[in-house]
Amino acid sequence: MGARRRVREVRPTDGPLLEVEDLRTYFETRRGLVKAVDGVSFELIAGRTLAIVGESGSGKTVLSRSVMGLLPQRNVTREGRVRFAGLDLVGAPEHELRELWGDQIAMVFQDPVTSLNPVVRIGRQITESLRHHVGMSRSEARAAATALLRSVGIAEPEQRLRWYPHQFSGGMCQRIVIASAIACGPQLLLADEPTTGLDVTVAAQILDLLQRLQHERQMSMILVSHDLGLVAGRSDDIIVMYAGKVVEKAPTATLLSDTRMPYTEALLRSAPRLTDGSHRRLPTIPGAPPDPSDYPAGCRFASRCAYAQPRCAEEEPPLRPGAVPEHTYACWYPVGTPHGAEALELNRAGGAVG
């Protein structure tokens, strides 16, 4: 793709590709102000994969949409700073964002079947961004689309370009969505639950594909998922979200070996594993996440936490550094510290934990 004419050239910067600072996204609803994202900060270095993990309702999907600027116009408050390759995305006019979407930042949504237009041949859907952003001619775009389909592992790409989405399976549709997302060679790919709803074998293929493409094209990637196990082998860094906040953030290996936040620990434990014998009783997290329009004071996880002490319900723990500087967590009684062990012991003795 040597002869590409870019509408806008984004210069590479020395700093992180994406900087998010104290991002807040609130929705005005009849139930009150829903604080879906409540002060989230993170950085993404070019070429790395960041996973955002949390339960439904933790704000991970809103976060990824808020970063992109894909939010409804009405009844939404979006504050904070999002800098992408030196550009400020919060407050940028939509026509500028439009130049970035699909070109520099692309997104893969959860449901591949509904993210494709059912009455448009896939060839046109894949080439749309190439024609718009790169200004390719019809035949150039066709050649590029053929190459893209081949690179995402679809056989006989020339014929398949003429097919409609319903002629493909869910896994194939997701490959097509990925092909159209990477068409312009974006610097950042946001994948929101890209494999939820797909079979295990297909999900593994899709994640392998994303990893390969990321490597080949040196993209940065944000992988949003509710499944910590799924992203564990496929990310450089992980952010764990709970009730609109980041509760722990670390390089993947550190997060798994040096878990500090009790919520992360609980998430890791509650998933059944292949290595455990059958009929093992699964540890669960009691209760339910708090109402996003009425968060409790103090730590938002406190009422469900095995380590919780009176202080947790009063004072909100700030994000503080762990053993390595890239590791931060928000907890007064962290897992794996004498403080935390003491708190857990105290709760066990008091019969608060089974």
Binding site: A232, G233, A271
Partner: protein, 366 residues
């Protein structure tokens, strides 16, 4: 692999449910048909949990539903408590159905949205005219308490007021109102978050113990199936691949498809697994599944239905359909070239004749 056969069946008189050579076809225009389930046999002992695993389209849900005669299978026997359900007439079957219940994947759409929880949970009793209104309510109160819900607080509410996990609890309570003996759980936790999933799995295990239930548990998630099951049956495109006790299947998968499934889910959580217990080191040369689409269930491949994706497939796999055979203690596989087990009779014959199976024989031995 992916074959028929009855080697995995055990003592008929001891089984609560015994399915023999189950076939379910769905007609299509032009005399074509979808071969959803083609010759599946299994049995479940009382108090046992059988896990059915496979990808979407492998026929696991159709199998589960055919057991309940929803719809009636095209052919084959479904013997429940020594009675063949496929031979029962409408009313007899209706009587029998109280002993068979089902829990579906999407709890919200399986609960009628305009009814209250009280109506939903007491309905099975009302239909059969069991007890007075207040007795039915007492039973609903007790059953909801068992699934950790308070009848007085939730009885007058409607399904949309609850989270998906709570709806699944209500579905479980409703399914157990008539004291069933067999419960078919069709992907009951697939729509749930991990933390809620753990709660529901534990709840199902508790209920099974407390009410002496026998479960058929359908899921595409291998780790969930391993957790709940005593025995597991792996299916591919309407056929049985492998049947074994849960722990054995996961430590010594013999069928290439089972292995591929396990590698896919281990690959997903490589960092969490650490290797202990599961003897699986991915080998890029022999484990690369052919990256083809799921073959069509309208025109399934000849011989073994998995062969188009199988890394070990030989000529014989296209010609002779493998049948299930015993390869270990309570371990049955339908494959000509199973991993870590001897070749099938047909493959051995071919190898002896100097056929194409020679190289595979060496590989399976190594």
């Amino acid at each position: 692999m992916a074959g028929s056969g009855v080697a995995q069946l055990r003592e008929p008189s001891a089984a609560l449910i015994r399915v023999e050579d189950l076939v379910v076809d769905f007609p299509l225009p032009g005399r074509r048909k979808v071969h959803a389930v083609s010759g599946v046999s299994f049995d479940v002992y009382p108090g046992e949990t059988l896990g059915l695993v496979g990808e979407s389209g492998c026929g696991k849900s159709t199998t589960g539903r055919a057991v309940l005669q929803l719809p009636r299978p095209t052919s084959g026997k479904v013997i429940f408590d020594q009675v063949d359900l496929t031979k029962l007439g409408g009313e007899e079957l209706r009587q029998k159905r109280t002993e068979l219940q089902v829990i579906f994947q999407d709890p919200i759409s399986s609960l009628y949205p305009r009814r209250t929880v009280s109506d939903l949970v007491t309905e099975p009793l009302s239909i059969w005219g069991i007890g007075t209104r207040s007795e039915r309510e007492d039973r609903a109160r007790a059953m909801l308490a068992e699934v950790n819900m308070d009848y007085d607080a939730v009885g007058w509410r409607r399904p949309y007021e609850f989270s998906i996990g709570q709806c699944q609890r209500i579905s479980i309570a409703r399914a157990l109102m008539l004291n069933p003996r067999l419960v078919v759980c069709d992907e009951p936790v697939s729509a749930l978050d991990v933390s809620v999933q753990a709660q529901i799995i534990n709840l199902l295990q508790d209920m099974k113990r407390r009410h002496g239930l026998t479960l058929v548990f359908i899921s595409h998630d291998l780790s969930v199936v391993k957790n709940v099951s005593d025995r597991v049956m792996v299916m591919f495109l309407g056929k049985v691949c492998e049947v074994a006790s849960a722990d054995r299947l996961y430590t010594e998968p013999a069928h290439p498809y089972t292995r591929a499934l396990m590698l896919a889910s281990i690959g997903a959580s490589k960092a969490l697994v650490g290797g202990g217990g599961v003897k699986m080191m991915p080998n890029p040369e022999t484990d690369a599944e052919k990256q083809t689409e799921m073959p069509s269930s309208i025109t399934p491949p000849s011989g073994c239905r998995y062969r188009t994706r199988c890394p070990h497939a030989e000529k014989i796999c296209a010609e002779v359909e493998p049948v299930t055979r015993r390869v270990g203690d309570d371990h049955y596989v339908a494959c000509h070239f199973p991993i870590g087990a001897p070749l099938s009779e047909d493959a051995r014959q071919l190898a002896a004749d100097g056929g194409g199976a020679g190289s595979a024989a060496g590989r399976a031995g190594g």
